[in-house]
Amino acid sequence: MSDLSPAAPTSTIDAGEIAKFEAMAAEWWDLEGKFKPLHMLNPTRLDYITNQIAAEFGRDLDAPAPFEGLRILDIGCGGGLLCEPMARLGATIVGVDAAPRNIPVAQIHAEQSGLTIDYRVGTAEDMAADGEQFDVVLNMEVVEHVADPLAYLTACQQLLKPGGLHICSTINRNPKSFAMAIVGAEYVMRWLPKGTHEWNKFITPDELFDLMRQAGLNPVDRKGFKFNPLGWSWSISDRDLSVNYVTASLKP
């Protein structure tokens, strides 16, 4: 178990960012609550994640416990929206979050769900310093919140075993993403508390691919998460990466 706190000097998380998420932690599992947009996006994220893992590690998603034997890390695990599905699919899953208040919320929910999940307070950098190794690192909607994306992605790379899979999603930087993610989601729809995102921290797909290469990761795939306002649902898009997008990369 990691005994490092989020205040550890190696952390690249802004202190201000942690406080923002702590304030939101209690409502993680309320489908109609503050995290409704994440719950809405979650099935689409899971489709991408499960299909990438299945393809990379030759697993059949229709088999019982298809991810058995895989050690997976979820960075910024929050209330466990990704950890619980990975546990149900048979993975050995570690969830880490820099906001201490998220951890008991996630632990209580996992226990209610009858799932075994190793939740820890900490950061990717803490885990890397501990020498932890994983087959898969899930890095979803985190990179736009960190102070030093390259240092952070380097830590993600260090956490992977050779041949390991890194899945990273974030928000593009352009006028449309500004309108959708900040004006739309935070101010108009009030889906997220104002100040959740800072637009200048958003990263374009090309910038992210460059950063990943510098961090020692080989980008292999990128797709858009596209919101359909008519069906009020998300889908995976091959072409439209203009707002939310997801990438897969491998450690050589």
Binding site: L31, H39, N42, P43, L46, D47, T50, L61, D62, A63, P64, E84, P85, M86, A87, R88, L89, Q112, S113, G114
Partner: protein
């Protein structure tokens, strides 16, 4: 009494009601990798050959595809009669059919016959055998559920012997008086039609040629559906009082009453199997889902059997629910969670409410002797008949080939 109190078995899916829909769900869910516990208050269906009891279903093309996908079709197909044509006529006893007629011919439909007529006994036997052979299914019959509750992430049902079964999702497939729905606090709306369906099968002299007939009589529709050989299944809807009168008659009297409406086009007729009566009404559950509970078939919606859509709609529930559950399972989602259930409800409730309203309107329009309405529907039928595109649309709808098809029905 409660000698087994405190004993709990855990599974993924608990199904209450082992009729055709409940059994189909058990088979489809087990094939999708779920552990299933099927509970039926009635004793286990016979797996052996039985005599024909007069009950049969008009299975839409999509339902036949689903049976094929569940490996049930092969043993049913040898006893199934393809429905090659449907003739719809506005009739009034003593006057003969009106000149306007709707005619649906399967030659216009690339998928083949619009449906098949299958006897209840053959369907039940195929399902019974498959249930017994399928790994992953625990089938308890008779077993009565006396209570249900939701405990954190499980739903728990209590049986009358004190045992408890827990699962991620409880499915109520227990009919119009669904105890599962009632215990979950789901109310229902119902409308009676003041009509009763008299159901039986007849043997006749002349071959039917695979043609189904629907006569719209003032008291209600009369459907003549071709079975294998020189036999037809009859669904005769009448006003309650008249139906009670007819039901009370002996077989000879019953045939005497049926003849004027049935006509003589198939020659002499005689009864085979028993006669059944079903009061007609429409029921719709206020919701198809509750916390860790989903309803299918008549527990969710009971439609007027005017178009033979009851079992077809139930099988469509089953196929949609299995798609939702299989997808949730592949993603690692909670199969009984609110998100998965919302997807099922969103998929099926709108479809079903539309069908209920359409069937209701159809019946009100046709079960009427008002001369003006009669003229309107005759013109309407003539118009549909004159337009091949519209006619094909009707056929595709009746064959269950329209809308967002679940994967089991895509063939």
């Amino acid at each position: 009494m409660h000698i087994l109190q405190g004993m709990t078995t855990d599974t993924d899916l608990i199904i209450v009601g082992g009729g055709l829909n409940g059994s189909a769900l058990a088979l489809a869910a087990a094939r999708a990798g779920l552990r299933v516990h099927l509970l039926d208050a009635q004793p286990r269906a016979e797996q052996e050959e039985r005599d024909f009891d007069g009950r049969a279903y008009a299975l839409a093309h999509a339902s036949c595809r689903m049976l094929r996908a569940l490996d049930l079709w092969e043993s049913v197909a040898t006893h199934a009669q393809p429905m090659l044509e449907i003739k719809v006529t506005d009739g009034r006893a003593g006057e003969g059919p009106s000149p306007w007629m709707l005619h649906f011919d399967h030659a216009e439909l690339e998928e083949g016959p619009m449906g098949h007529l299958v006897e209840d006994r053959h369907l039940r036997r195929a399902m019974g055998r498959s249930l017994a052979a399928m790994p992953g299914i625990v089938h308890e019959a008779p077993a009565r559920v006396v209570a249900q509750r939701v405990d954190a992430s499980r739903v728990v049902v209590t049986l009358d012997d004190g045992r408890e079964i827990s699962g991620a999702l409880l499915v109520g497939s227990d009919g119009r008086q669904s105890g599962t729905a009632e215990r979950a606090g789901i109310g229902r709306q119902g409308w009676g039609y003041g009509q009763t369906a008299l159901v039986c099968a007849v043997e006749h002299e002349k071959p039917h040629g695979g043609i189904a007939h629907q006569f719209f009589m003032p008291g209600g529709p009369l459907a003549i559906l071709p079975l294998t050989g020189n036999r037809c299944s009859i669904v005769w809807s009448e006003e309650e009082a008249r139906a009670a009168e007819v039901a009370a008659m002996d077989d000879a009297g019953f045939l005497e009453a049926l003849r004027p409406a049935f006509g003589s086009f198939l020659g002499e007729i005689s009864l085979v199997g028993a006669r059944f009566t079903y009061p007609l009404g429409l029921t719709l559950a206020d919701s198809f889902v509750a916390e860790r509970v989903a309803l299918i078939g008549d527990a969710a919606h009971g439609v007027h059997p005017i178009a033979g859509q009851g079992l077809n709609a139930g099988l469509r529930d089953v196929a949609a629910l299995v798609d939702v559950l299989a997808e949730a399972r592949r993603r690692g989602e909670d199969i009984g969670g609110a998100q998965a259930l919302a997807r099922y409800q969103g998929w099926r409730r709108f479809d079903t409410a539309t069908l209920a309203v359409a069937t209701d309107t159809f019946n009100r329009l046709f079960s009427n002797d008002n001369p003006l309405l009669r003229a309107v529907r005759d013109m309407g039928m003539g118009a549909v008949n004159a337009m091949p595109g519209l006619r094909r649309n009707f056929m595709r709808e009746a064959a269950g080939l329209t809308g967002d098809l679940p994967s089991l029905m895509r063939g």
